[in-house]
């Protein structure tokens, strides 16, 4: 038996109504651990040969919900949602906070692979060996909040009934809202109303499978670990270290709404036309005094509790969301010219409820508002005016996107694809206004000021604009480290640089160090992700000579603030990117060299695919 693992992955085929299990060799776990790494490997094995032909929203795509060996033990809890992404057409390891990670492992599984497509809406219910595909007909169409009023309550009643009436814990679930059902490419997989796996668009993948939710109850203990005493000791040390973090604990990332703009000049304002502001309306103080109803809110095992619960009332209705965190303060706020705490929480609550990614959607809305400002999209196109700061107009657009009404049908394709459609509709190139990389909207961290993300970060990432997987110098940090966090599956906000490698060894017994991870595992994972990203298809293909770049906007000088005049430089981006590729054992196109493939033991699996990409790039 392998330490730290349940030893089995559940395979649910929704087309055939069939439930099986698969196991993963220890040699593979040693390299890829779980989560993002294992997901990339499984996708390569299962779909690699025909990757370009697989429609991410077709039944042949897989939806993977994966834990890692640290889930449940290491403080904080995450699961990874992955598959072929309908945004990048590659693989995104999209992380989500949910207790189903722990419940899955307690039920005896390290993850779930969902295949095929159900004829009718269903949800998957797992309770140890009992796995059921249940009808979700009556839940289809429900927003997140409605789903918790119905399904969550019904699952609780079932759990109470099955335990002789005891007051038991809830049954954790992950689910999609109407956005995922309507195959909106910016749809998230959601949990607990406001937690989202946003990057990647896996809400739409779930929707394409007619899968509304996955609920899990695990009745057993977590899988046993290699050195239980050490795990226990380290857990204590990490808990203590994390519980003393001031700003994350008291403010969450929500303090960034003011400070990232004011201090770092790297906050998206009006579709990134500016990145600096001194608008104290968006200060953390206004959030905490006016709308926070719960200051410390955490998921399983988390001593940081960066989440807060916010409540705003508008027109007699109650809107509920989390902090909002920095990303949503920026993307449901400053990027739309909105600085008022209540309005930001209101829009955040709406996207959460519909199951949309707040980052991708805010990026898209800012893009639309700029096109309106420039006179490219008109009231005739949109049905109404979309001006900066007009919260109600953005709300209407969000509703149109979710329902795919009017222009919403085009916008539901996400910033990149919408830009392509609008370009052909208007016979002009609007891609220059799309602040995205390889189909993924960039996170709310700019690169121009030199005080936040690095210029080449988004250009080189295998997850495009994903700010949680951004390469940075020194190269063993940034994306290389993110592959570890996302594969061991720990939260980036509970990372303990001091103890986590010891912790990983104590759980798994694997001789794993930061050096071995950087040299071997990270390179293997990134190489697989890179090759599948460049294979792309069937609707979009990336050319590294064109698309390994940052959005054009970042080459325009910052118009305001202490960093006024600063811009990214093409030479710097290019030069750092090539150094990074070299560090990973890739050539100048970002393709793993033969020697790299050999060293990583990936020659057999990846060489034919690399050849295919080279051939396409040559033609």
């Amino acid at each position: 038996m392998t330490y730290g693992y349940a030893g089995s992955i559940l395979v649910v085929d929704l087309s055939k109504d069939k439930i099986t299990e698969m196991s993963i060799d220890e040699e593979i776990l040693r390299i890829y651990l779980g989560g993002r790494g294992l997901g990339a490997y499984v996708l390569l094995k299962e779909l690699g040969a025909s990757w370009e032909n697989i429609d991410p929203l077709g039944p042949e795509n897989l939806l993977l919900v994966l834990t890692g060996p640290l889930v449940g033990y290491y403080p904080g809890i995450k699961v990874v949602i992955t598959g072929k992404s309908p945004q990048s057409n590659g693989v995104i390891g999209s992380t989500l906070s949910s207790e189903i990670g722990l419940e899955l492992r307690s039920a005896g599984y390290d993850g779930i692979v969902v295949k095929g497509r159900s004829k009718d809406p269903v949800y998957i219910y797992v309770e140890n060996d009992s796995v059921e595909i249940r009808s979700a007909e009556k839940y289809w169409g429900m927003t997140g909040r409605k789903l918790y009023e119905t399904l969550s309550r019904e699952l609780l009643n079932e759990a109470i009934r099955k335990s002789k009436g005891s007051a038991v814990r809830e049954t954790p679930m992950i689910y999609i809202g109407p956005a995922g059902e309507n195959l909106v490419r910016t749809a998230s997989v959601m949990s607990k109303w406001f937690h989202a796996a946003g990057y990647g668009g896996y809400g739409a993948v779930m929707g394409s499978k007619n899968l509304k939710a996955i609920a899990v109850r695990g009745k057993g203990p977590l899988p046993r670990v290699y050195d239980p005493v050490k795990v226990r000791t380290l857990t204590r040390l990490i808990q203590k270290e994390l519980s003393s973090k001031f700003s994350l604990r008291y403010w969450g990332t929500g303090h960034g709404g003011y400070s990232v703009g004011y201090r770092f000049s790297s906050e998206p304002i009006r579709n990134w036309q500016e990145e600096w502001h001194d608008n104290r309306e968006i200060s953390i103080v206004n959030f905490e005094r006016r709308i926070w109803k719960r200051r410390f809110w955490g998921d399983f095992g988390c001593p940081v509790t960066c989440m807060k619960v916010s409540v705003v009332k508008k027109c007699g209705s109650v809107y509920v969301t989390d902090a909002p965190d920095y990303e949503l303060q920026a993307y449901m706020g400053t990027n739309l010219g909105i600085f008022k705490a209540e309005d930001i929480a209101y829009l955040s609550a709406i996207v959460d409820d519909f199951g949309l990614c707040g980052i991708q959607t805010g990026n898209l809305l800012g893009f639309v508002a700029e096109l309106y400002e420039k006179g490219i999209l008109t009231e005739e196109d949109l049905g109404f005016s979309v001006r900066w700061g007009d919260t109600e107009a953005f709300k209407r657009l969000i509703e149109m996107i979710v329902r795919r009404e009017g222009i919403g049908d085009i916008l539901a394709e996400g910033t990149f694809r919408a830009a392509l459609r609008i370009s052909s509709m208007k016979s002009m190139n609007v891609l220059d206004y799309a602040v995205q990389v390889k189909g993924i909207a960039v996170g709310a961290h700019g690169v121009r000021s030199g005080l936040d993300y690095q210029q080449f970060s988004y250009a080189a990432s295998v997850q495009g604009g994903d700010h949680t997987s951004a390469p940075s110098e020194p190269f063993d940090r940034g994306e290389v480290f993110a592959t570890f966090a996302d594969s061991a599956v720990i939260c980036l906000f509970t990372v303990s640089k001091k103890y986590m490698w010891d912790f990983t060894r104590a759980v798994t017994g694997f001789e794993i160090t930061q050096e071995s991870w950087t040299k071997y595992s990270a390179r293997a994972i990134l190489s697989i992700q890179r090759v599948l990203l460049l294979l792309g298809g069937p609707d979009i293909y990336w050319d590294p000579r064109v698309h390994d770049d940052i959005p054009k906007r970042f080459y325009e000088p910052l118009p305001s603030g202490p960093k006024k005049g600063e811009a990214a430089s093409r030479d710097t981006v290019r030069k750092t990117l090539i150094e990074y590729y070299k560090f990973l054992g890739w050539d100048e196109l970002g393709l793993p060299t033969d020697e790299t493939l050999e060293a990583l033991g990936l020659r057999k699996l990846l060489e034919p695919l690399v050849k295919k990409i080279r051939k396409r790039l040559e033609s």
Binding site: G72, Y73, P75, E99, L102, E103, S106, T143, R145, K146, Y148, E149, S152, R153, L155, L156, I160, S163, K164, G165, S166, A167, V168, R169, E170, K192, W193, F194, G218, K219, G220, P221, L222, R224, P228, R232, T235, Q239, K240, S243, K293, R294, F296, W297, G298, D299, F300, G301, C302, P303, T305, V309, V311, K313, G316, S317, V318, Y319, V320, D353
Partner: protein, 168 residues
């Protein structure tokens, strides 16, 4: 004087580290299902810790057909796992339905205050959340906390989200 665990509902973050501690102390494993203290959060953000209040009525003890539940010299509840048949009568007898069945062995689990110094309380204080604390008093008001957790959840929900909290 009786020792019991006071729950400050508003301070609980829902981190469930108390569950980890409880299952570790009692079973040597991280095992939610056997934790004597549990967090219920079927509505996100509405967090309800569930744990025995060592009430003075001792409904569980009085109802047990096997005499498997007893008080020690400090008046702390214990379940005699040899005698317990897992019939579940104590669960129905408790107004808050706090006893829970062991998922693998056929007996009930009730908080025994770890013999006087509960691990759940220690960690909650240690990490600065202070949602749980041990109090030593004969105050009969502790009996009033024995209510159906779903009712408690609904009240906490109303306090947090207002009475139209279910509408969006």
């Amino acid at each position: 004087m009786v020792k019991w665990i006071f729950v400050d509902y508003e301070r609980c973050s829902g981190c469930r580290i108390c569950e980890i501690e409880c299952s570790y102390v009692h079973e040597g494993k991280v095992w939610r299902e056997v934790s004597r203290i549990r967090i219920l959060e079927y509505i996100p953000g509405v967090v309800v810790p569930i744990v025995c209040f060592q009430c003075s009525e001792r409904y569980c003890l009085k109802s047990c057909p096997q005499d498997a539940i007893y008080l020690d010299s400090d008046e702390i509840t214990h379940v005699n796992s040899e005698k317990c048949t897992g019939c579940g009568v104590c669960v129905s007898a408790c107004p808050a339905h706090i006893p829970i069945m062991h998922p693998e062995k056929n007996y009930a689990l009730i908080c025994d205050l770890c013999g006087g110094e509960p691990a759940c309380v220690r960690i909650c204080l240690d990490l600065g959340y202070n949602a749980l604390r041990v109090v030593e008093t004969d105050d009969i008001n502790r009996n009033l906390y024995l209510r159906d957790v779903l009712d408690v959840a609904e009240e906490l929900r109303e306090a947090l989200y207002g009475n139209s909290g279910e509408k969006s």
